[in-house]
């Protein structure tokens, strides 16, 4: 039988094209790698699970095409739509999908965690018969379960926003308002206050929680330290705006220092001198 080379030509051409592309890919990899590492360091990559979640919603092309922020916004609207229906599984799925698609905005993490920690326990208790029917122990259990989910979710956010004080504040609020765990809340507020660009109220609330825990000496030491760092008057040269001065509330902090001096019986000679 005569061997017909022409019959294999398309396959051979295809094979050569694939080999040439693979060799090119291997050759340009060292050239491309630094640029890719730069791009990766500047923005969170789309994860496979977010794409799989989006695939079912028919927005994959938009997602890949660059409409990432818009697709996340679209899913956030959907999240709110299912949230209005008190649909727990769907709400939780969409909350996670939104931050998987676009983990950059803090807004999604903050509001998603609030839905999980504050709204979902109410839905579950209502579904089990309401606050009058469900025993206190069971209510507490539900609160703990939902808070754990919310805290895990917020801790995941640190992977994208390691220095975000507002995430610590959110964690503190879950401990304080849902779990009634003042000590853990105080610790989270302390961490928030230590972050760069932390809101001024985080330090003040930390001190108040220490007072509530009866740790007045610690609160006093903290407030004295805090007071020194607060802006007292606007200074354009230093970039201190009147709004910052107002938000820092230095007079209020000083007033609390004086209260604590009274409670701790600190002598006038040893009192804090601003």
């Amino acid at each position: 039988m005569k061997f017909n080379l022409a019959a294999f030509r398309p396959a051979l051409t295809g094979f050569l094209v694939v080999v040439a592309l693979a060799l090119t890919g291997a050759a340009v990899r060292p050239f491309e790698e630094p640029a890719w590492q730069f791009v990766k360091s500047k923005q969170p990559a789309l994860k496979l699970d977010s794409l799989q979640g989006a695939l079912g919603q028919g927005v994959t092309v938009g997602l890949l095409g660059g409409f990432r922020a818009i697709v996340a916004d679209f899913f956030w609207i959907k999240t709110n739509a299912v949230w209005e229906d008190n649909d727990l599984p769907k709400t939780q799925t969409f909350i996670k999908l939104v931050t998987a698609i676009d983990p950059r905005p803090l807004y999604f993490w903050q509001n998603g965690s609030r839905m999980i920690a504050y709204d979902m326990p109410n839905w579950r208790i209502t579904e089990e018969g309401g606050y009058d029917v469900v025993p206190q122990a069971r209510q507490r259990k539900i609160d703990e379960q939902q808070s754990a989910v919310a805290l895990n979710y917020l801790n995941e956010a640190f992977g994208h926003h390691p220095d975000a004080p507002l995430l610590h504040v959110e964690i503190a609020n879950v401990y304080l308002n849902r779990l009634k765990d003042t000590a853990s809340a105080a610790e989270a507020y302390r961490r928030a206050a230590l972050q760069p660009d932390a809101p001024y109220y985080a330090g003040r609330i930390y001190a108040e929680l220490l007072r509530r825990l009866g740790r007045n000496a610690e609160a006093y030491a903290w407030l004295k330290q805090l007071y020194r760092t607060l802006p007292k008057e606007a200074d354009a040269a230093k970039g201190i705006t009147p709004f910052q001065v107002e938000a820092a509330m230095a007079p209020v902090v000083l007033e609390r220092i004086r209260e604590l001096e009274g409670e701790l019986n600190i002598l006038e000679l040893q009192a804090f001198r601003p």
């Binding site: 051409t13 050239f31 630094p34 922020a69 818009i70």
Partner: protein
């Protein structure tokens, strides 16, 4: 001697000519601009970019300028990709289906000139598309940023947030990415029999190139050796389109690194040259 058969003569009897390549490119460009598809997609993209301001009410996560920038580039990438794939396939197959390819290639013209002429024609069309959408986005962002500066001067104490030069660089990078996509589509068209197959495969390539990084990331975690090699091979065969995604820096007051820009631009040009050459090689083996 077989002098009646035109194909062996084409591209062999005359030296390679940039002039002829330019004529093919010019005709391709004119043909593309006359098509309804180009005008339709351009109009849609322009309308979408222009309407970014109206959609800003739906923005929850990021700043308004970032949202407009994302929206504008999203429109450019989405419609630009569609235009690139559809126009390349249509302009190539119109020559095959109308039999004009036979007439052209019967003349002393290289298949290289034909393929690269087609590529440059499409590349020019996509360039016009990118230029128009970029200019529109520039205008829109400038207008909105000026309004925000007037309304809220404290937020702009350090000056403007948007780096307008970087917007232009991003437009150029998107254009180069579409160039790689056009070259890939031409490569598919060079062996494909139908326009539809080329368009569908073109979109598959677009999705795969955008997801290529997943194969690269997964490479280390695959236990099975054959599967691992396959994943690695896939990571090498397809270019990484995510590397062109530098637009994230624009709406947040961070500039694009010039070295990174040059690297990505070089990466695209290398791929355009290689894939273009492969399209020529494949087309030379094709019976028309």
């Amino acid at each position: 001697m077989n002098t009646a058969f035109p194909f062996p003569l084409s591209g062999r009897s005359v030296p390679f000519s940039l002039g002829r390549l330019g004529i093919v490119a010019g005709n391709t460009f004119l043909e593309a601009v006359r098509q309804k598809l180009f005008n339709f997609l351009l109009l849609l993209a322009v309308a979408l970019v222009a309407s970014a301001q109206l959609f800003r009410e739906f923005n929850f996560g990021s700043s308004e300028l970032k949202f407009i920038s994302d929206f504008g580039f999203g429109a450019m990438v989405f419609f630009g990709s569609t235009l690139t794939i559809a126009a390349t396939a249509q302009l190539f197959f119109s020559e095959i289906e109308n039999r004009t390819a036979l007439t052209i290639l019967a003349k002393p013209i290289w298949r290289t000139e034909f393929i690269f002429g087609k590529f440059l024609g499409v590349f020019a069309v996509v360039g016009v598309f990118c230029a128009l959408t970029t200019i529109l986005l520039l205008g829109l962002l400038y207008h909105r940023e000026t309004a925000l500066m007037t309304a809220n001067p404290e937020a702009f104490e350090a000056g403007r947030i948007i780096h307008y030069g970087d917007l232009v660089l991003m437009g150029v990078l998107q254009w180069l990415k579409f160039g790689v996509l056009a070259a890939f589509t031409l490569l598919i068209a060079s062996f494909s029999n139908t326009n539809l197959y080329t368009v569908v495969m073109g979109f598959f390539v677009l999705v795969i190139c955008h997801l290529q990084y997943l194969a690269r990331d997964a490479y280390g975690s695959v236990a099975s050796l054959p599967l691992r090699l396959l994943v690695q091979l896939l990571g090498y065969i397809f270019p990484n389109f995510q590397v062109f995604n530098l637009a994230d820096q624009i709406g947040i007051g961070v500039g694009i690194d010039a070295a990174v820009f040059l690297r990505v631009a070089g990466y695209a040009l290398i791929y355009i040259a290689v894939i273009g050459a492969l399209a020529v090689y494949s087309f030379r083996n094709r019976e028309i």
